[in-house]
């Protein structure tokens, strides 16, 4: 089905179609609200991903800790943030990774937006 909505560059709108594709991945990331689950994931990543039924694309994106790949696999930013939290990544780390610049460059860009 063709979307009647506007296209926004560099942006995926998390709608029903994304939610359908990403459900298993997002459900796993939602579970990371609880420390026991984060610990279980760190102990055996493969087993934890299998428990949530991640598809190969989602599994690979988790292994790569690559945010753009995780988004492409149907991940939602709010749940992915909990995955990032496991590795102590803050929003500037994640922003820098997605935009292909260093963290300092990313932060400078944010400062520039205020000028």
């Amino acid at each position: 089905m063709k979307s009647p909505h506007i296209k926004i560059p560099g942006t995926t709108i998390f709608d029903g179609s994304e939610a359908r594709r990403g459900y298993a991945l997002n459900k796993m990331c939602y579970s990371f609200n609880e420390k026991a689950n984060r610990d279980e994931f760190l102990k055996d990543e493969d087993a934890y991903c299998a428990k949530y039924g991640l598809n190969p694309q989602q599994r690979a994106a988790i292994a790569a800790k690559n945010v753009l790949q995780l988004l492409a696999a149907g991940g939602n930013a709010y749940y992915l943030a909990k995955f990032g939290g496991i590795f102590g990544l803050d929003m500037q780390d994640i922003g820098a990774q997605q935009t292909g610049v260093s963290k300092d460059e990313f932060k400078a860009k944010l400062v520039a937006a205020g000028k």
């Binding site: 560099g10 997002n26 943030a81 909990k82 496991i86 500037q92 922003g95 937006a113 205020g114």
Partner: protein, 279 residues
């Protein structure tokens, strides 16, 4: 009878919680943001609201995609926060106002706003941080009623619908038969985008226009669809729906008593406003 004394709107970036926890509010990075609050605290000390209606958006703590309400209202005797995935500190719990919650639910559903009622609800940074900014000793002097607006899954409710919801909340409060002073808090925003190649997007010009519109032309933002708001303010900038809803609760004369705007805090154009309401 109950009355709305005013509204406070503020960004709710999780890193603010980190700064409070570490006690670094006076460091140069944080000071321009935290400096926005003393005038609001002085006003609160003078006006002394009894209840706060907190219009906010859950970030995947209380709600998951298995059940995603467009609009929800807390109707719990007590609310507490919880680990959101990065081991944040547990704050003192918040006392709910069940009388007002159920009155709002009756009134709103009666006006065809089909709220999901929640007798249990955990609250995340979108709820806790604004209250911690207003009441830094965290001895909450207000009872609370959370109102949740879905900003996770598109379509979100439209800006127009949120505005109407705010108006209906305002009417419900005015018809509430307890003699209480109600503060409305709208949290989140302003422009920011966390994900995608456009991560780091900020739109100062739009934010300034939006803030101005809350007193000069409050329905200005209702011209935009949810996707258009994302285009203008970023995927998370759409949290301005909480601000708009909070603003719309006030049908009398609304005066800007204070505002603060600083770019950036974390990835966000951080903004705070205090709007006074005279019926």
């Amino acid at each position: 009878m109950a009355k709305i004394v005013g509204a406070v709107t503020t960004s709710h970036v999780p890193a603010i919680g980190g700064a409070i926890h570490k006690g670094i509010q006076h460091e140069p990075y944080w000071k321009p943001f935290f400096d926005g609050f003393p005038p609001i605290r002085e006003w609160l000390a003078k006006v002394k609201p009894d209840v706060a209606i907190v219009v906010n958006n859950d970030h995947g703590l209380n709600f998951f995609l298995d059940k995603m309400p467009t609009f929800a209202i807390g109707a719990a005797p007590e609310y507490h926060n919880a680990d959101e995935g990065w081991g944040i500190p547990v704050l003192p719990s918040f006392k709910g106002d069940e009388d007002l919650s159920w009155h709002l639910a009756e009134s709103l559903i009666g006006e065809e706003f089909d709220m999901v009622t929640c007798q249990e609800m955990v609250v995340d940074h979108a709820f806790t941080l604004p209250l911690a900014l207003l009441y830094p000793d965290m001895k909450w002097p207000v009872r609370v009623v959370p109102i949740n607006i879905n900003t996770v899954l598109f379509p979100t409710p439209s800006a127009k619908r949120c505005y109407k919801l705010g108006q209906a909340i305002g009417r419900a409060v005015e018809a509430f038969d307890q003699d209480v002073k109600v503060l409305v808090i709208g949290t989140g925003g302003l422009s920011h985008q966390l994900e995608g190649e456009r991560a780091g997007f900020i739109n100062k010009e739009f934010d300034v226009k939006f803030m101005d519109s809350l007193t000069s032309d409050p329905q200005w933002a209702t011209q935009y669809t949810d996707r258009e708001l994302v285009a203008h303010t970023g995927t998370q900038g759409i949290e301005l729906l909480n601000w708009l809803t909070a603003r719309a609760t006030m049908s009398g004369t609304v005066t800007k008593l204070h505002s603060n705007f600083h770019i950036p805090i974390s990835n966000t154009a951080a903004a705070t406003m205090l709007l006074g309401h005279n019926v």
